[in-house]
């Protein structure tokens, strides 16, 4: 019997892959088996186009406790018996179809990955990308996504402390919703998603299983989609209350002697969760599918195996431990059912009402095909990179107008209208709140703190995927360093178009190379990650968007720096460059170039060695107590960075350096590796000697002073005016 093309399309398997399955099994797969293959060999679960590349990412660190890919999330040691589990994950396709539930369940999913490690989730971040905000569809998606994150995160009691949001045509119709979760593990109690020995029981706990989310991994996330309304049933519906109770119950369960493993039930549902657990345990598994509690009658084994109903976890329990597990979950009013048993052997065997409906080697299912990617540079990219920036005309408006327009740009304006909808205080660890370069959390019972951030400038990645990805790493680390924390680990959320096309293959290959080069320069590992492919709509791919989540360590949470200027007469210093103003080539890929001239072109640059050294100087200056503020110079360039320090600090600034002839490039160029500091005059010599000893250029550019932003002799803006543009920009841009 030959399977129909329609069936294969439904689960996103190619004819060649189907033949590969027959070859491996030595027979035609049964319909249920085919569903399992479809899920596990999906791009979403099987990483067919990315796994070869992902293996090349740096993963070694003496702080690494759990290696990337080995478990639900990587784990990094902080010392003092503390460790951090962290991971970023995408929920792009569900959010494009049903933004509220898509984003909400994205948050729910990443939280489960973290507490599956035995980690108490202590922070959430969201990295979001949308089409242009003047579009009604974008506003619908934006409001839905923010509403979903707010609804789920607030209910569950995990502070949402950071992230980014960026608007570009490239995401019209295909928003990106990446959620990152950070969890704290105390006393070295890392959990594993595996069974210990044959006879261990497999528990399913939490929500009942319904028909929601079937083909979420294989269908929705693993191919392009145009008829999105038809895919709505593939989006899951979240219940944050249930997840909150599930977290508490699972954290308690891990303390029981009989509980040996905990696994998230996420993409591809029980199929992926149970079979991965069997693989990790090196055992076979019997699954009694009729024992899975259902939300509705008449569900087939296929539907039960592939349902992506949320708020479910799998637990491996040694025989004899089940009574305590039942009692615990009963106290939390949660269902717990024994749905399987690990056994010696290699097969996953599925039984329905006593009848075996499937017996398939685990390794055959989990060893998805691996594709090699081409990587030849597209000609159009060459042309874009070679555009001469000198050909960009001067803006046809005065500096003050450009400045106010930049401050009000939806990509630059204050994000307060969004994050005031998220609870960022709960758990009472938040030292630096959202709105800075990175959030800082203290760790109770220790002097230490962590800094966390996400970053990716996808315009730059589009113009040069390799340098762009390196810059994403550099900026994610710079966000950390300006708080005073030392970057120690990264997680990557790779968001790309269709990996079967040569352009996307090039972008992927180059991006991974760029991440690798930068992570090596910082000597830090990528501890976890996620790849989301097929992000395109109406045939065109999104900008390559390798989002980098970063983790930094503060030895003393009390000693940190924040963005706002603090004291009149402090000196403003720029480190990482010996010039106050950028040059014309530095407007390549900048916000200025797109906002004012409507262009995304040019060749971005990065000196990784300088970047690493500049960040080190910044950290040392903060640790030595020399500086009163520190801010990363990025989107919008030096002029916007100064304005942000002034607005947040409520004090003006006088920049004494005269504006260059190309004041537009000078003010708004986006060259890398620059950090803006303010400090008391008495500390300037000490800062200079630190900079000198690290061979990092620095330049004194002005003073914290008055209540206006003054640039040379030619430009002066009352702080109240600048502040209004920046505070109101987001709401203005995103309201009708």
């Amino acid at each position: 019997m030959t399977v129909s093309q329609q069936t294969l399309d439904e689960i996103a398997l190619s004819r060649t892959e189907y033949e590969m399955i027959i070859d491996r099994l030595g027979r035609e797969p049964a319909p249920l088996e085919l569903g399992l293959f479809g899920a596990l060999w999906s791009e979403h679960c099987g990483y067919k186009h990315t796994k070869a590349l992902l293996r090349t990412l740096p993963s070694s660190s003496k702080r690494l406790l759990v290696a990337p890919g080995a478990e639900n999330a990587g784990v990094i040691d902080l010392g003092d018996g503390l460790a951090i589990a962290m991971k970023i994950e995408s929920h792009n396709h569900p959010s494009a179809v049903e933004p509220f539930e898509g984003a909400a369940t994205g948050v729910g999913g990443i939280i489960r990955d973290i507490f599956a490690m035995g980690a108490r989730p202590i922070a959430l971040l969201n990295s979001l990308r949308f089409g242009q905000p003047d579009n009604a569809r974008t506003r619908y998606l934006l409001n839905g996504v923010i509403g979903g994150i707010s609804s789920y995160g607030n209910c569950i009691g995990i502070p949402d402390v950071g992230g980014e949001i960026f608007f570009s045509d490239s995401y019209n119709g295909n928003p990106l919703v990446n959620a990152m979760c950070v969890g704290l593990i105390e006393n070295g109690k890392v959990a594993s998603a595996s069974a210990r020995e044959a006879g261990d029981l497999l528990f399913l706990v939490g929500a009942d299983t319904g028909r929601d989310g079937i083909h979420g991994a294989s269908g929705l996330a693993s191919k392009g989609f145009e008829e999105e309304a038809e895919m709505r049933s593939a989006v899951q519906v979240g219940n944050p209350f249930l997840e909150k109770v599930l977290i508490e119950a699972c954290m308690e369960a891990l303390e029981l002697p009989g509980v040996v493993g905990l696994q998230d039930c996420g993409a591809a549902g029980i199929t992926s969760a149970a079979i991965e657990m069997a693989e990790r345990s090196g055992m076979g598994l019997k699954l009694f599918i009729d024992r899975v509690p259902r939300r509705e009658k008449g569900m087939t084994p296929y539907e039960v195996m592939l349902s992506e109903s949320q708020e479910r976890m799998l637990i491996a329990v040694t025989p004899g431990g089940e009574t305590q597990v039942f009692e615990l979950f009963d106290r939390w009013d949660l269902d717990a059912s024994v749905i399987g048993e690990f056994e010696l052997g290699n097969n996953v065997k599925i039984y329905d009402e006593g009848e075996q409906v499937c017996s398939t080697p685990v390794i055959t299912l989990t060893d998805s095909p691996e594709y090699k990617l081409a990587s030849s540079k597209p000609a159009w990219l060459d042309a874009l990179q070679k555009v001469n920036m000198n050909a960009i005309p001067m803006p046809n408006m005065p500096p003050i107008k450009v400045m106010l327009k930049m401050l009000g740009s939806p990509n630059i304006a204050s994000r307060f209208p969004i994050y005031q909808q998220y609870d960022y205080h709960v758990q009472t660890n938040t030292v630096i709140e959202p709105g800075g370069d990175a959030a800082v959390l203290r760790l109770k019972g220790s002097k230490k703190g962590i800094a966390i951030s996400t970053d990716c400038n996808s315009r730059i990645c589009y113009l040069d995927p390799s340098i762009g990805a390196s810059i994403a790493v550099a900026e994610a680390c710079r966000n950390i360093s300006v708080t005073g924390a030392a970057p120690i680990a990264l997680t990557d959320g790779l968001n790309f178009g269709n990996p079967e096309t040569p352009d996307v293959q090039y972008q992927l290959t180059e991006s991974i190379a760029g991440i690798t080069r930068a992570a090596d320069a910082f000597k830090i590992p990528i501890v976890s990650g996620n790849a989301s492919m097929y992000n395109e709509s109406l045939g065109s791919a999104i900008f390559p968007t390798p989002i980098i989540g970063s983790l930094g360590l503060l030895e003393d949470a009390e000693i940190h720096a924040t963005v706002g200027f603090k004291s009149q007469e402090d000196i403003i210093v720029l480190i990482g460059t010996d010039s106050c103003w950028d040059e014309i080539n530095d407007i390549a890929g900048s916000e200025y170039l797109e906002l004012i001239h409507g262009k995304v072109e040019g060749q971005p640059r990065l000196d990784l060695d300088l970047e690493v050294r500049a960040q080190e100087v910044c950290r040392k200056a903060i640790k030595a107590g020399l500086v009163t503020s520190a801010h990363d110079v990025s989107d919008g360039g030096i002029a916007v960075a100064i304005a942000e320090c002034s607005i947040i600090g409520g004090i003006g600034a006088v920049i004494t350096k005269a504006l260059p002839k190309r004041w537009d490039a000078g003010m708004f160029g986006e060259s890398q590796s620059r950090i803006l500091l303010s400090l008391d005059n008495k500390n300037i010599d000490q800062l200079e000697s630190i900079a000198l000893s690290h061979n990092v250029p620095m330049t004194i550019i002005g003073f914290v002073k008055g209540d206006s932003l003054v640039f040379g002799d030619s430009l002066s803006i009352p702080l109240t005016v600048a502040s209004e543009a920046w505070q109101n920009g987001f709401n203005l841009a995103t309201s009708e």
Binding site: G157, F241, K244, Q420, D423, T428
Partner: protein
Amino acid sequence: MKFGIVVFPGTWSEKDTQYAVSDVLGYESDYIWHDDDNLDQYDVIVLPGGFSYGDFLRCGAIARFSPVMEAVRIFADKGGPVIGICNGFQILCESNLLPGVLMRNDHLEFRCIWTDLRVENTSTIFTSKATEGQLLHIPMSHGEGNYQADEETISRLENNGQVIFRYSDTSGNVTSKINPNGSVNNIAGIINERGNVLGMMPHPEKASEKLIGGDDGNIIFKSLIENTVNSLK
């Protein structure tokens, strides 16, 4: 002197409350599971923030039926001090231990911000360590904190000095512009007539240390501790 902190399924502020009263201020505290109805060993009861029962139906509407709430009512009837924070305030209103209701914020969005609470009455067991008109810098975090009651109830609360905290600007002015949720008369917290049950939307337990942005919340807990310790003498 021991705090009892009630935990419903979905409560998330119990740990922050315990941290504030026990780790920071050094007083004993225990969690009380929602189906427990024995409060004999406690001197102060806290109903902390969170989303009890996921706020299904209506905030606090299900929690009021938990066995512990009957015990809380008896505790309050005997004059025992009870403080309900955020979801706890909502539960107290649903249980008729405090008058009025907490409706959806007038702008329909969740709001997490720092507020400045003007202390309206310092002759209560919750505010005796504050000065009249003092501003307490304390965060709020809710979607349904819009305090409303009928006119008669409001004027009774106002006349009896039962309005304890109002949202104000940093200079102590109570204006509609600074009102974060639409509450009538900028009301952020009220007490019952007897003066032993306080409900407030902002979270004093989230303002327990300077490192996390401020410690003004301790003024409320310290007042409560001092007055309770004195009454136990």
